[in-house]
Subunit: 343 residues, 2 copies
């Protein structure tokens, strides 16, 4: 259509809403097409035809730029190298892609100030929404969440009264699965190698470990607890410290990276796994399966949490008036060679 | 400043170039600020002041939308879960972030049609440039690369005469490092477990393995070669087939996932690593270090390739007239417990 026609119809300005209604697509889809970000062939065709019919003009593009439907979702995770986040990221990407959203990934390095800055950056509306998985949640996060002009879904432990969409893992139930399994196979001295206890996962797993011991009728012994971080090297060093002073018959580790480090120390020390010491990790990543012996591990459903977070985000983008929702994903335990012998 | 003032100055239209010059920042930076995508506090301040002074108006925003500086770079890799790509992604993200670009990550699933579609999608200019790391490069890729209106940097083996920025690994040199090391430690029957030989890495590593054997004066024996894919499970199955029919004194694997699978089969079969069979992997990922025994591995410099690709992209965005450049990253070998015994 000619430039002249475009300018003529601009007197009765057509909005993206008009175009979307005429094309029979959502406002988000129409906006993505009009912003040149994409859509299915059929959507693009219908939106362009509708835009042509109502004389949607560049000024309207500028208007829609202010409304800023970007077709982008951000995912902010502590560490894009962590297999848990990779799983979560893949699941989110899959859901987002089906809804024609592109995923923009931020690695925050678990820095609370960086995370808060990211949330504050949402004021620029460079994305339509953000899925945030922080290791710690502080007051800074909550304030920034409250100010965000675009929806944020938090994957992690938000305070119960925080009015934001929230997907949680049940790490308490997951730890209980591991400890019950070890107790069921006759283990009496179940050690625990934790990550940093001042992180949400670290604090939750510590509390859960003590509660689980009580649940299975075993005493809590301080010498059986060691702390590293959630990485391999520190986990391995923590396991070395533990084994230098105590002789557990099982080790439960707060994630699979720590478990791989503990396995290394056990085997290097001439201990047989699982005959001498059984081993259970957490997160059930590919690493658990790729170790020898393969490591039993509790899954907190990272992929499922990602899928749910993306679903919550998409529903909210469709209907911003929804009440905040919270979903909790149930843990599962996969028993492998590292713990399958009963004493 | 008032709406009135804006409209008055619009008669002498100010472009993003005018604003950038007045603010003393690059056009890309000015564009990002004007599009609400971001910039440092100082940049934002200067650009906004300059925009106000020259009376940069929403029509100009629409114009800049046509010029489409998005402040986004895309990274398309076969598999965001592969540790090699994670390393590359981290390095690219770091460089991009310093230049104030956000990274948008696509997982292509190594599907050549999907990759071609992504390249064709660049016609929509939803990003300022793309870094693509395909497993195979076909004619479809080259045609789509030639048509792209935004720069694409390819990490991988482009044909020598392809006029695109290209960062290559030296897998040939990397394989030679591994085979020389194994030969130096007295190994005579060095097996090879490859990934899919119809991929660029698979084909290159196969050719390099034969050439390296010749270089160290060892014969090529067909029974010492097995093929899986580049994943753990298939690599492990391939190693099992190999060990069922032959008795190598060393196994070189085309990546660390395959090497972890081979290690599993060796240990499960009661073979000692490295006393009976030495093992060397490729890519030098965290997995090599997290295995027990730790696996020697050749690095093809994934992080360095990512950094270089991002650097090439940023230079080209600054100066689109540059001649196509090609960089090759040198391989390195890290010797660990899995091959440190000399026969």
């Amino acid at each position: 259509m000619s430039r002249k026609r475009l300018q003529k119809s601009a007197d009765a300005p057509a909005t993206v809403r008009t175009v979307a209604a005429l094309a029979g697509v959502s406002i988000a889809s129409a906006s993505r097409v009009l912003n040149g970000i994409g859509g299915s062939t059929e959507t693009v065709r219908r939106v362009r035809e509708a835009a042509a019919r109502v004389g949607y003009v560049p000024n309207a593009i500028a208007r829609s730029l202010q409304a800023r439907r970007t077709g982008l979702l951000a995912l902010a995770v502590a560490d894009i190298g962590n297999p848990v986040y990779v799983e979560m990221m893949r699941a989110i990407e899959e859901v987002a892609k089906r809804a024609d959203y592109q995923l923009l990934v931020h690695a925050t390095g678990a820095d609370p100030e960086g995370e808060t800055a990211l949330l504050e950056g949402l004021a620029r509306r460079y994305v339509d929404g953000m899925i945030l998985s922080p290791l710690r949640i502080g007051d800074g996060h909550l304030t920034a969440l409250g100010r965000s002009p675009v929806p944020v879904t938090v994957v992690g432990q938000l305070p119960d009264d925080a009015p934001f969409d929230n997907v949680r893992a049940d790490s308490h139930g997951g730890v209980l699965l591991a400890i019950e399994h070890l107790a069921d196979t006759g283990r009496k001295r179940i050690a625990f190698v934790n990550g940093a206890p001042d992180t949400l996962p670290g604090a939750a797993r510590m509390t859960a470990y003590r509660a689980a011991l009580t649940a299975v009728g075993l005493p809590y012994e301080e010498e059986l607890v060691e702390i590293g971080d959630f990485q391999y090297a520190q986990g391995r060093a923590a396991a070395a410290r533990l084994l230098a002073r105590a002789r557990p018959d099982a080790i439960f580790c707060a994630n699979d990276l720590i478990a791989a480090g503990a396995l290394h120390e056990l085997l290097a020390g001439g201990l047989r796994v699982p005959q001498d010491v059984a081993l259970v990790g957490m997160d059930d990543t590919a690493l658990a399966e790729m170790s020898f012996p393969q490591i039993s591990s509790v899954s907190l459903g990272a992929a499922e949490r990602g899928r749910l977070a993306a679903d919550l985000m998409l529903s909210r983008l469709e209907n911003p008036q929804l009440a905040p929702r919270r979903e909790t994903v149930a843990p599962t335990l996969t028993v492998r060679a590292s713990s399958e012998v009963t004493l």
